[in-house]
């Protein structure tokens, strides 16, 4: 290596302008080539499917002690109950995809290779979306496979030929993906792993506790639209929830969550385009 020559490695191909395709290829190569992706995906599957199974088994074992009103609320949302925790894991993946680049300095290298920031931002978001959607579908059907028998044997109709049931099950990948995108937005805004993850956890586990105590109907309405409740609403098929305030409709939950994601992603995008890297 002391004989220094760069002659041998000349590149003769003509210069071709980079396009969105190159940004996508690069982002896929990135997400594929770090272990944290695989760990996060594995943990997400284990947490979601495991907790869904656990809740199903315990519910089934104690079926006799469950009251009529509560039994009436048993639907697809119970089958995929573990997603309540699973979303945090995909949210963390969304955070890490960005914050790890900032914490390591890789973002500067990335932007040097691909300085068209809007395209880079979009490519990263799309790659994350595709990965988490696919993961979500796997999780949804795996949860259904292991947890639904515990409910069907007690006469709960979970047949996927029912449009409402299928819709509720497919809400799982959508919910997981929107939360991953919220994490992505937080990652860009805060550029710091711990800060972004703390904010995400706060949004899902602390904010609902606070809004739950808000007085009056306005308080109840606010409580409905916090991310965790909006997400849960997407998976409910029987609109007969316990208590006097019904949750958002599935579509309402979807829209609320979409707004949450947009509230984080849009400023993240605008900042990313203009901020010093």
């Amino acid at each position: 290596m002391s004989a220094t020559t760069t002659r041998a490695v000349h590149l003769s191909a003509p210069i071709r302008s980079v396009t969105f395709r190159e940004a996508m290829d690069s982002e896929f190569a990135k997400i594929r080539s770090v272990r944290s992706t695989y760990w996060t995906l594995l943990i997400c599957v284990l947490v979601t499917v495991g907790i869904s199974l656990l809740i199903a088994a315990v519910t089934s074992a104690n079926w006799d002690s469950i009251g009529q009103t509560e039994r009436a609320t048993m639907d697809m949302s119970a089958v995929v109950a573990g997603v309540y925790f699973g979303v945090l894991v995909t949210g963390v993946l969304g955070v890490l995809v960005v914050s790890s680049e900032y914490s390591t300095g890789m973002m500067r290298t990335s932007l040097t290779a691909f300085p068209r920031r809007s395209m880079l931002f979009l490519a990263k978001a799309i790659v994350l979306t595709l990965v988490v959607l696919l993961l979500g579908v796997v999780i949804a059907f795996a949860s259904y496979a292991v947890a639904s028998p515990f409910y069907t044997k007690h006469g709960i109709d979970l047949s996927l030929s029912q449009t409402a049931n299928l819709r509720a099950l497919l809400a799982v990948p959508v919910y997981l993906t929107l939360v991953a995108l919220m994490g992505l937005g937080l990652g860009y805004l805060l550029r710091h792993t711990a800060a972004a993850i703390s904010s995400l956890v706060g949004l899902f586990f602390v904010v609902p506790i606070i809004t739950n105590f808000l007085p009056g109907t306005a308080g109840k309405d606010v409580n409905k639209i916090v991310p965790s409740n909006a997400g849960s609403a997407m998976m409910i098929t029987h609109a007969t929830a316990v208590g006097d305030t019904p949750p958002l409709s599935p579509v309402g939950g979807f829209v609320a969550l979409l707004v949450w994601a947009a509230v984080l992603i849009v400023p993240a995008f605008l900042l990313f385009r203009h901020r010093d890297a």
Partner: protein
Amino acid sequence: MIQATALTKRYGPRLAVDHADFTVAPGKVTGFLGPNGAGKSTTMRMILGLDRPTSGSVTTNGVPYHRLAAPLREVGALLDAKAVHGGRSAYNHLLVLAKANGLPRSRVDAVIDLVGLHSVARKRSGGFSLGMGQRLGIAAALLGDPGIVMFDEPVNGLDPEGILWIRNLMKALAGEGRTVFVSSHLMSEMALTADHLVVIGLGKILADEPMAEFIAKNSVSYVRVRSPRMPELAPKLASHGWRIEQQPDSSVHVYDAQPAQIGDVAGAEGLWLHELTLIQSSLEEAFMRLTAGSVEYHAGRSDGERAVLDGAAVPGWGEPLPNRKSKVNSQANS
């Protein structure tokens, strides 16, 4: 070709780069010299479009960096050897970058061989030593076979073999007609590699000239003379047109003369000498004086005037710094 025009970056009240104008031409190594915090890295980040200039502009091959068709094909940069995701292998790191510019996989293997990282290419880069990290950074910079290469403090933390390797690499790259822009805070390092010098101090460009010119202008030499007969000798020396400075320690500094000439004059007059020493201040000192001038300037005044560029006008110019030993017959100008 890199061209900066009135390039300015302000962080709050502080001007990190202050109306910098310079051109980095192809075919030679241009050293970007300045003390730590002078604005070298900020300037390089602006060249790469990472930081947005507060005002002014900088172009690479005539266009702003983000307009380059395929950036890695035109500009390769090593800013920070640690700007790598430590969980990714060296090979995958380079593959990610190659894909971002549509470069073939064969380029990744080619640059890995070039920098000698073949045996660790599949290892996670987080465990790399600083030297290995620098090599990985250089591999990334050369990935697209660019016409412009930029290295920010490339020899920092390297062992002697690595330093020699980088020096030769930079010279070879320039020899191939590429634009090579390399920053350093060490004049001695620049003296060995750079053909052209851009000096920056507190964000201002203090010098932009060929290395040879900088050396000629700044390597001040004089002869230190001591003699018990100085009152008689001094007028004789002055009559030859040589500049004379009386020192507090009773020695005299004679400029523009060679020791032999001074000895001849003294001998002809029968005036004996106690000392006759040629003192050549090093380039390092010249650089320190140049940048110290900008520091003093800023500490003393705050009226946005440009720093004094002409070294001769800086207070104390021509004299060695008080706490710094002058090297006799400095070897710095190789």
